[in-house]
Each structure stands twice: as structure tokens, then as C-alpha cells.
Subunit: 252 residues, 2 copies
């Protein structure tokens, strides 16, 4: 089961949700692989991994066998395929490569059965990285902020996913929309939440991730929120998110 965490809008919490959801599932004894498919390499940095050249880019270009690129994290059941800045080169090179929308799928299909879940972190764009991730995935989770630009941009991103579903990956499903940095005190949050519920009622996760400074501090220690601050509101939210995630997967 492959799930990509994606949204063209920047800074909505793609990396944060990919990293902490994958960690929470691994801590619940599920075998999880997390693929860093963003040239910013923030999953790789968030776990303090030194890729030593064993990266997703070298797998995609055929220089490295995918099994060589799987790094163990500090969590027993959690593995990461890291990225480094070489990945930025794929944007220009992909136009010369055969089947350039299925480069990632071709590789992940070799190993995905060995894990309960494979997560892919995407960059904030709808270019070659996100297209590859959507074509490799069974599901997509879309983090959003409860703000104007997130709401405005969402319908365009939704259209891009429909486009992929129709032509390139008909089995792709939207597992859900996760509202992040939720602050129930502001009027804007409530208004935007209502708009999302109006347009996409069955897709919104009931669990919302609150704004919690512990979540922003955790990556500087190379830890997921459950290990950095287990009793924080952030850690509680991710425990609930895991439950709702499993529920939605089983229903689909």
C-alpha cells in the first residue's frame, strides 16, 4: 500500500505529516517505508540521516539497486529512502527519459510488498516529482492549512489529481484532507474549515492537527513528535490520526 502526502501549496505540513504519521504507524509495530521525494530533503534532515550517496535519485537513474538505498531509522520498524540535492537534477533530465511519469513506480513496485505502508513526501509543486509520486500511489493524503490561499489553491490541485486518475493511474484515491496548524480561536480558521466541509464533506479527516510548537521543535532533534514530546497536544493528535488513517484504509 503506497500513500503519497502531497499538495502544491507550500508550507502546509506535508513533511511533518508524512514523518509523524509514518513514525506513529511504525511505533504501532507496522513495517513502514518513508520515501523522500523532495529535493529539499527534509525527511532526510528530519531523521538526521547521512545519505552517503544511497538516494532515491541514484535508484531512479539506475545507478543503485533500490534495496541498497533503504536506510534504518532510530525507530525499529521505520525505514527511509533519503534524498539529496542531486534530486533537483531530475526536473531537467526527466524530459529525456522513457516513461518519465512512472520512474518512481517502477522502482517502488519491486519492494512495496515487503512493507505494510510506503509513504512518499512530495515537494510543493505539480511537476515531475509530484506526478511520479501520484502515479506510484494507491492513495493520496492532502494536508491543508485553514487559510485563504490553501482553500483557493485546493480546487486546482484537485483537478490535477483527477487528471492523473483519468489517464495515468486510475486506481489512485484521495484518502483524505488533513487540516493542519488548526487554531480554533481564529475566525478565519472556522470559515475556511466550513468551506472545505461544504465542498469535500466525505474527504476531510475529523482529526485536525493543532498548532503546537513541540511539532516544530522535534525535527531539530531528529525525532518524531511521539518520541520528542509524547504527552504534547501534537503527539496526541498524531495518535488519533493513526486510528482514523487505519479506519479509512480498511473502509476503502
Amino acid at each position: 500500500m503506497v500513500i503519497c502526502i502531497s499538495n502544491q501549496k507550500g508550507g502546509v505540513g506535508k513533511t511533518t505529516i508524512a514523518l509523524n504519521l509514518a513514525s506513529a504507524l511504525a511505533l504501532a509495530e507496522l513495517r513502514v517505508l518513508l520515501v523522500d521525494f523532495d529535493p529539499q530533503s527534509h525527511i532526510t534532515i528530519g531523521f538526521n540521516i547521512d545519505p552517503q550517496g544511497k538516494t532515491i535519485y541514484r535508484v531512479i537513474t539506475g545507478e543503485l539497486d533500490i534495496r541498497e538505498s533503504i536506510h534504518q531509522t532510530s525507530i525499529e520498524n521505520l525505514f527511509v529512502i533519503p534524498a539529496d540535492e542531486d534530486l533537483a537534477g531530475l526536473e531537467a533530465e526527466a524530459s529525456q527519459m522513457e516513461n518519465n511519469r512512472f520512474l518512481l513506480k517502477k522502482e517502488l513496485d519491486k519492494i512495496k510488498e515487503e512493507f505494510d505502508f510506503v509513504f512518499i513526501d512530495c515537494p510543493p509543486s505539480i511537476g515531475i516529482y509530484t506526478i511520479n509520486a501520484l502515479c506510484a500511489s494507491d492513495f493520496v493524503i492532502i494536508p491543508v492549512l485553514a487559510d485563504f490561499y490553501s482553500l483557493e489553491g485546493f480546487s486546482k490541485f484537485f483537478k490535477a489529481i483527477e487528471y492523473i486518475r483519468e489517464g495515468l493511474n486510475p486506481s489512485l484515491e484521495i484518502l483524505g484532507i488533513v487540516i493542519n496548524m488548526y487554531d480554533r480561536r481564529t475566525k478565519l480558521t472556522k470559515e475556511v474549515e466550513e468551506e472545505f466541509l461544504k465542498y469535500f464533506p466525505e474527504k476531510i479527516f475529523t482529526v485536525k492537527i493543532p498548532k503546537n510548537v513541540k511539532i516544530a521543535e522535534a525535527p531539530s532533534f531528529g525525532l518524531p513528535i511521539q518520541l520528542y514530546s509524547p504527552s504534547s497536544p501534537g503527539a496526541d493528535a498524531f495518535s488519533l490520526l493513526v486510528e482514523e488513517f487505519i479506519e479509512k484504509i480498511e473502509k476503502s
Copy 2:
């Protein structure tokens, strides 16, 4: 004078700073052009502009004369060249185009003398859009958040700018780094701010933009912060930013 507002990191406030800084300068009687060079088109949405096909994409592809693409905003001295989703096509098409890093520069050079300032809003990436913007610019302003991923990612982005300066645009200067959504109460903010000051002491703007919900509300009314909520902490910060911006420009 052309200035691009750029950072590979998503959600740091590129659009917010480009829109409100350009507006504040226009309200101070300077003639300002704002170019939306992000396929998300958030500058265009933030002013509630209907591009009607008169976009930067059609200028770049040679379908439209750049003077036809300049739209008046609700502010007398502020003009916008809008974007729409067609701009997303440039990533794949650019590899077939001659001189594909100077497509934007070629067009802006035709009209830049008619404005005191031309600002370019960039998407969160270092691909073809940001490279074109950096190659068309005299200065770059880099918004950051005082958080771990912003700090981590900064040195990579800095290297990308150096690469552009050495080869493609030797006159490009970093005008400064603007810390956005500044919250003096959190420890993380203070620690990250100190790191930025340690590594790039002469580049940090002394003005910091506070986190202020009025800033996030303004685009849903199609207004910059100075017109939406003139006495808010956000509007005050942008008035100070204008002064420091002018100072830095005159010094350089």
C-alpha cells in the same frame, strides 16, 4: 530595478511579502509592477484579478506583447502581470526553448525602465521559474520563518543563488533576509534568529513581520494589509519594511 522574492522552502511568505511590500511602495507614490511567476497564481488571486488570458505565460511564449499583459490594480500606482494555470506548462516546454533561463529577463527588459520597482513572486522551488526570476533580477529578497526547516534549507538556497551569480547573472545581489511570522515568545524563534544572525549578519532585515491574522485575512478581500487593516501590527511592520527596503536599495 527588478527584485525577486524567492525561497525554495514553501509557505514562508513569499507571496505575502511581495504583495504587501509592492503595495506599500505604490501607496507611497512609487510606480510599481508586480509579476506573478508562480503557477499557483496567488498574486493574481490576492488582487482578485481575472487574467482573461493576458498572462506572463503568453508573453513568454511570444503570443502576447508584454504591454498587453499589464493589469491595473485597485491601487493607482500598482500594476500586475498575472498568471494562470497555463504557466505550469512552462516546466516541460522550457527544455525545448532557446536561452530558456533568460525568457523572463528578455521580456521584462522591455518595460522595466517605466517603473520604479518591478517585483517577481516565485514558486517554492529552484527549477525553471526561480532560475528565470533570478536571472531577470538586480536583487533578491529571501523570506524565511524562524523554524528548523527554514534554517536547514537556507544554506542550500544560498548556494543556488551563488551558482546563478557566478554563471548567469553576476550583478544579482541578495538585498536581505526577512524573518516572517515572527513570534518573540517561543524559544525556537529566538534560537533560529540567532543562527541566522550568526551566519548572515549583514543580510538580515532588522524589521521582522509578526504573525498577525489580519495579514492572512486580507487576500480574501483582494486587498493588501495597508488597505484592509491599516492600524494592525501587520500594516505597521510593512510600513517599517518599506523604509528599510529603500535604505538598503540606496546603499547598494
